[in-house]
Amino acid sequence: MASIRFENVSKSYGDLRAVDRVSFEVPDNAFFCFFGPPLSGKSTILKLILGLETPDSGEIFFDDRPMRNVGPSDRNVAMVFQNLALFPHMSALDNVRFPLVERKIDEATIQARVAEVTEKLHMAHILHKPPAQLSGGERQRVAIARALVRDPVAYLMDDPISALDARLREETRVELRRMQQDMAKTLIYVTHDQEEAMSVSDQMLILEQGRVRQIGAPHDLYDAPNSAYVASMLGAPAMNMADASEAVQVLSHTPRMNRNAKTVGIRPENLKVARKDGPGRVTAIEPLGATTVLSVETAGITWKAALRGQPAHEIGAPVQLSVDAGSLHCFDARGNALPAA
């Protein structure tokens, strides 16, 4: 029900600039993902949205309404904390009821809302237990239920499913995406898992040391990163980065590239490997089923190539590397993206 806008917001802790002149807008009803390495300012931005921290400078708006003097309880934002932050002295049910009880909502409405949410999350059987008696996944659901039970302007989630095992995480993130679309609410999501970020979000914002590096739809960021940093953050295996002059010597039929390019990047799935005598040697083969990741070494550079299926390659065998013109990313000396040609 609301868009959230940051205008030149900064926040420091001592000498550390946790958030540095950040501006962005989270559109209404978007699944918006903050992505970056630890200490890049993700959690601080969430705290600023929640009102748990006040910006040193800049302004935060909810639907054009400045939030400077609005306290956390009046912002009507729901949050799932990274460590869940359940109330240990209350049962799961009381945890879920808490936001409604504190807002003095009448008992009939509370019961209806709680029943609806707990049913959606399949947690009726754990409601009487205290958090201490729940498994990691069950605690997660309690925390999510506590956020979903009321009708906030936006939901914030700080790496909420990182404690789950890989399979459950995949299921949960799809489930979260589905719920967000059902409810038609803004969901702001923080994660350090690029696959998670790309798979669920409408838009993502990439942070580096408290600064915004790029904002956009996941596939746009993936295909057209504005910097070497963004390029290297997305994709697994990560983009191959090589000095432009060295790459020219290694790649057979090098496409035309920007004359100012200092570094070139090639996504592993765009790197072609031919079993011909060439400058590369296969050093490792990782068959992953649908794809096979090949490590190829050329004079000092290790390239990763993601090949479809299980192509026949041998360790130690010589290979030739090449790339199509459209798949080459060029960056200048400061890491900013350049047009390819």
């Binding site: 705290k47 956390p72 729901a78 949050m79 460590n83 240990p88 002295h89 958090p131 506590r146």
Partner: protein, 286 residues
């Protein structure tokens, strides 16, 4: 790790020694409390570890029943001092815990208060004697000598640093996110403190209160200086248990000692289950 047998023997000898040093006097006190006068006043070969003729005479004696063997009669019985000790130690604990917990929370959460933590430690750096004489003078001006409130107040002040430091450590260790969650979910700061922080801190409050209570309960010096008669506490009263005819009434003292050990033990048992359970057990993902 496989330990050698001599090492194990040494280890158990040390443990046994420590246990003996700490427990034997207690056992001796309990044993003496149940001995008739002939046994507790015996010397040399007549001394026994266990009472040969166990009796409750010592207990009856301090509560005013004259003893057949003991010609003396007590001027005052133990009832009043026990009440005085219970009242002043409890009120002192309440004062220290209330002030200490509030101060600790404020300092832990908002980092205000400047040098207060250090200042509170300094309160304990002076020898108690050096502090107590001026206090005695002030209290007498205020009419607080031999007064339950006067004694409770000074107990609260003297144990405040302990209450403060213990509680501050607990508050510092409590994850902020839990309070943040409550703030976001619609609580005011005060509601967070009452609804979330204090209930979560119950084990910490219980163990700190027990510690403070024991400090107050076992005080001798302060009560000796600030009470004269009506509000003499158990330790002060115990010191007075002697007579010109029989000298120190060890049997009676032992009986009173056994009684004095009961309240802390009861409190300890009552809070034990809180002490064992972790503070935030289950609140966070591991």
């Amino acid at each position: 790790m496989q330990r050698s047998i001599p090492f194990e023997i040494f280890r158990y000898a040390v443990i046994l020694g420590i246990v003996a040093v700490s427990l034997v006097p207690t056992l001796w006190m309990i044993s003496m409390a149940f001995k008739p006068i002939a046994e507790w006043s015996a010397a040399g070969a007549d001394l026994t570890w266990w009472p040969r003729n166990p009796t409750l005479d010592n207990f009856r004696f301090i509560f005013g029943q004259s003893s057949t063997d003991l010609i003396v009669a007590l001027e005052r019985t133990a009832g009043r001092p026990i009440f005085a000790s219970l009242l002043t130690a409890t009120c002192g604990t309440l004062i220290a815990m209330t002030a200490g917990t509030s101060a600790a929370y404020g300092l832990s959460r908002f980092g205000q208060g400047g040098n207060l933590p250090l200042a509170l430690i300094q309160l304990r750096l002076f020898p108690p004697m050096a502090v107590m004489i001026p206090v005695m003078i002030m209290w007498s001006f205020l009419g607080l000598i031999d007064n339950w409130f006067g004694l409770s107040l000074i107990y609260g002040i003297v144990t405040l640093p302990f209450a403060f430091w213990l509680m501050k450590t607990f508050f510092d260790d409590m994850p902020r996110e839990i309070e943040d969650a409550a703030l976001v979910e619609g609580c005011t700061r005060w509601r967070v403190f009452v609804r979330i922080t204090l209930p979560m801190m119950r084990p910490a409050l219980a163990s700190s209160a027990l510690f403070v209570f024991i400090l107050n309960w076992s005080d001798y010096l302060i009560a000796l200086l600030l009470t004269t008669r009506d509000w003499a506490t158990i330790p002060v009263y115990m010191a007075s248990l002697s007579s010109s005819m029989t000298g120190q009434l060890y049997g009676a003292k032992a009986a009173l000692g056994v009684i004095a050990a009961v309240p802390p033990i009861i409190m300890g048992i009552a809070i034990q289950k809180h002490l064992v359970r972790g503070l935030t057990f289950g609140a966070l993902k591991e």
